[in-house]
Amino acid sequence: MAEAVSNEAINKRLLWSCRRGMLELDLLLKDFIYQGYNSLELPDRKIFKILLDYPDAVLFDLLMGKSIAADEGIASVVKKIRSIATSTAS
């Protein structure tokens, strides 16, 4: 139970970190937290947290496909976020 509460707190912290300065990022990251994050393996969760520390403009270019991450792990998580976004019913 204690672990469940703790996980919930972690998710809420993550959710708040998904509040960004650009609407596009808000929508992409929020959808991913609700629909994709829980199915990530631990290493990818760590990468997702690294991504959240990126400046908004850099994150925007990655998530909108304007640039490609050199790091394979980052590129893979970016792909998963985009995949949730493009498959979510509007």
Binding site: E8, A9, K12, R13, L15, W16, S17, R19, R20, G21, M22, L23, E24, L25, D26, L27, L28, K30, P55, D56, A57, M64, G65, K66, R82, A85, T86, T88, A89, S90
Partner: protein, 586 residues
């Protein structure tokens, strides 16, 4: 309950460009300055400003600050205060060169001077040839400014309260503002920040409307705090809309799409702009296109299962041109509307973009209210700058490139005035319990348990009402019904409950507090729009289609008790002759 207290010379609420520019000025003057921000500072909405900042540097075209002043006054549809506009346009080159020195990587010309691009509404010789006045750091100007200012503030030892949500201003019986109560989001604990001066720099309120371009953080928190502290909100009826946002999402689809030959169709497949603007059609001005879309939807010719949008069709342009000239738009459509515009039309609806109204200030950044001597008495210790403020340089309509300029010039001006104020007010004033109790009551209200309405559902309903009744289609009956509805929703919010009563990162509680703020300023917006029986700038009434300078060349002031008052527009600049009123024709 013991509340943690901290004391500072200056408290800045909001860490966008305006707040950070002010904080830097203060920290460099050795003031003890704190910045409270509900998100990490470099995630403020300033990052979304891609266009640039206006300054008459004359690097690309002949230009001077007086041309810039004329364009800004004309763009404001003559509701802008000419003294504040003069101040801003004269200060513009200085703030841009300062940014250059702070490390903002402005795009350059071959001769090494800052490159300037042309934007709409910029002219040489008072309405003549196109001017190029906008300084940009590629397409990341807001991001570059924010990061440079943040780094400079770290170097200057500004104290940051990251992820703290400001609840309310603290005001004493003599009317002085003594700081604010805030909530640490991580722990859920309140903190009292006492300050000799407080600057509100919390940005705009695009989240008032269901379809908007603004980030989720733009909930007008500072405007609502000011309203609750007895400050009226000025010119809230003026809200800038773009005609084509992705329906239900708000993401902007630029006019460039229609420039490339894209056009709008309704549910019958009719190219309806031919009826509204037979010559310009889909390239008619923003307000005309926006209103046409809203009318099509209102009259039942909207598309989709809920008939709540129209389609922007570009498949006829051809895959090659779309891929070559509109790649960003295609990606936005695929990502957020789940359609590839090469094959299918994009669902669109007018999207709210910029809050021209806000907390009334003078050109020194002081918050001013009609209280003792006249319509503009400063509230001691209180300042505002940027989109949350109404100084008023944008009047009824903001020009592109002037929003970044506004935050920089008036963030800096407010800080300069604060430095003088601190020299005359060396000690903290005694704080009584009343102000603290009010802020704590606002927090405690959301600790009530039991059954009640859902905050997210009320939020969705409220934003839809704002869009339907106070969006781009404004008419007496529709606005009056809207005012009744938002007032009723505000009442219903009293009975809402949040189920999550945890302390740590309780985002449900923050969203409830944000909704209170939104509803308070939503009522101000609808009431002000209902009262103004003319069309001026972004406020466009279908039942009063002309600008009415005889009766409405004045600023609206909405008070928390529902009262509306007005004050004159400042038509006299600081040092030059006034620009006389003219029709706003381009």
């Amino acid at each position: 309950m013991t509340i943690t207290r901290r004391k500072f010379d200056a408290l800045i609420i909001g860490a966008g460009g305006g707040g950070l520019r002010a904080a830097l000025q203060l920290a460099r003057a050795d003031a003890k300055v704190a910045v409270v921000s509900k998100v990490f500072p470099t995630r403020s909405h300033t990052v979304a400003a891609q266009g640039g900042v206006n300054a008459a540097l004359a690097n690309v075209s002949p230009d001077n600050w007086h041309f810039h002043m004329f364009d800004t006054i004309k763009g404001s549809d003559y509701l802008g205060d000419q003294d504040a506009i003069e101040y801003m346009c004269r200060a513009a080159p200085k703030v841009v060169y300062e940014l250059d020195h702070f490390g903002v990587p402005f795009s350059r010309r071959d001769d090494g001077n800052i490159y300037q691009r042309a934007f709409g509404g910029q002219s040489q010789d008072y309405g003549g040839e196109q001017a190029a006045r906008t300084c940009a750091a590629a397409d990341r100007t807001g991001h570059a400014i924010l990061h440079a200012l943040y780094q400079q503030n770290i170097n200057a030892r500004t104290h940051f309260f990251d992820e703290f949500f400001a609840i309310d201003l603290i005001k004493d019986k003599e009317g002085y503002i003594l700081g604010a109560m805030a909530l640490e989001i991580e722990t859920g604990e309140p903190i009292l920040i006492e300050a000799k001066t407080t600057l509100i720099a919390t940005g705009g309120a695009g989240q008032l409307f269901r379809t908007c371009t603004n980030a989720l953080i733009n909930t007008g928190d500072g405007m609502a705090m000011a309203l609750r502290a007895g400050v009226p909100l000025q010119d809230m009826e003026f809200f800038q809309f773009h005609p084509t946002g992705i329906a239900g999402k708000g993401i902007l689809i630029t006019e460039g799409v229609r420039g490339e030959g894209g056009y709008l169709v309704n549910a019958d497949g009719e190219r309806f702009m031919e009826r509204y603007a037979p010559r310009a059609k889909d390239l008619a001005s923003r307000d005309i296109v926006s209103r046409a879309i809203a009318i099509e939807v209102r009259e039942g010719r909207g598309c989709g299962p809920d008939k709540d949008h129209v389609f922007l069709k570009l498949d006829h342009i051809g895959a090659d041109i779309i891929k070559k000239r509109l790649p960003g738009i295609r990606d936005s459509a695929i990502t957020f509307a789940h359609v590839d515009p090469i094959e299918s039309p994009i669902p669109v609806y007018p999207t709210a973009h910029y809050t021209m109204g806000g907390i009334p200030t003078n050109h020194k950044g002081q918050v001013v209210v009609p209280e003792r001597e006249g319509p503009e008495d400063p509230v001691p210790g209180l300042y505002a700058a940027g989109e949350c403020a109404c100084v008023s340089v944008h009047g009824a309509n903001r020009l592109g490139g002037n929003s970044l300029l506004d935050i920089l010039v008036f963030g800096r001006a407010a800080a300069n005035h604060i430095i003088g104020y601190l020299q005359e007010h060396r000690y903290h004033r005694q704080m009584d319990d009343d102000g603290i109790d009010m802020a704590m009551a606002r927090l405690a209200r959301w600790e009530q348990q039991g059954e009640g309405e859902s905050v997210p559902e009320l939020r969705a309903e409220f934003r839809k009402v704002m869009e339907d009744h106070c969006g781009v289609f404004r008419e007496q009956n529709n606005l009056a019904i809207g005012l009744e509805k938002v007032t009723a929703l505000r009442q219903r919010l009293q009975n809402a409950r949040i189920q999550d009563q945890s302390k740590i990162f309780n985002t449900a509680r923050i969203e409830a507090l944000e909704l209170e703020n939104l509803m308070d300023i939503g009522i101000a917006t609808v009431a002000s729009a209902l009262a103004r029986t003319e069309s001026r700038g972004a406020h466009s009434r279908v039942d009063f289609t002309e600008r009415d300078d005889t009766n409405w060349l004045k600023h609206s002031l909405y008070f928390e008790d529902g009262r509306l008052d007005y004050k004159p527009v400042r038509l006299k600049p600081m040092t030059v002759a006034p620009f006389p009123l003219k029709p706003r024709v381009y």
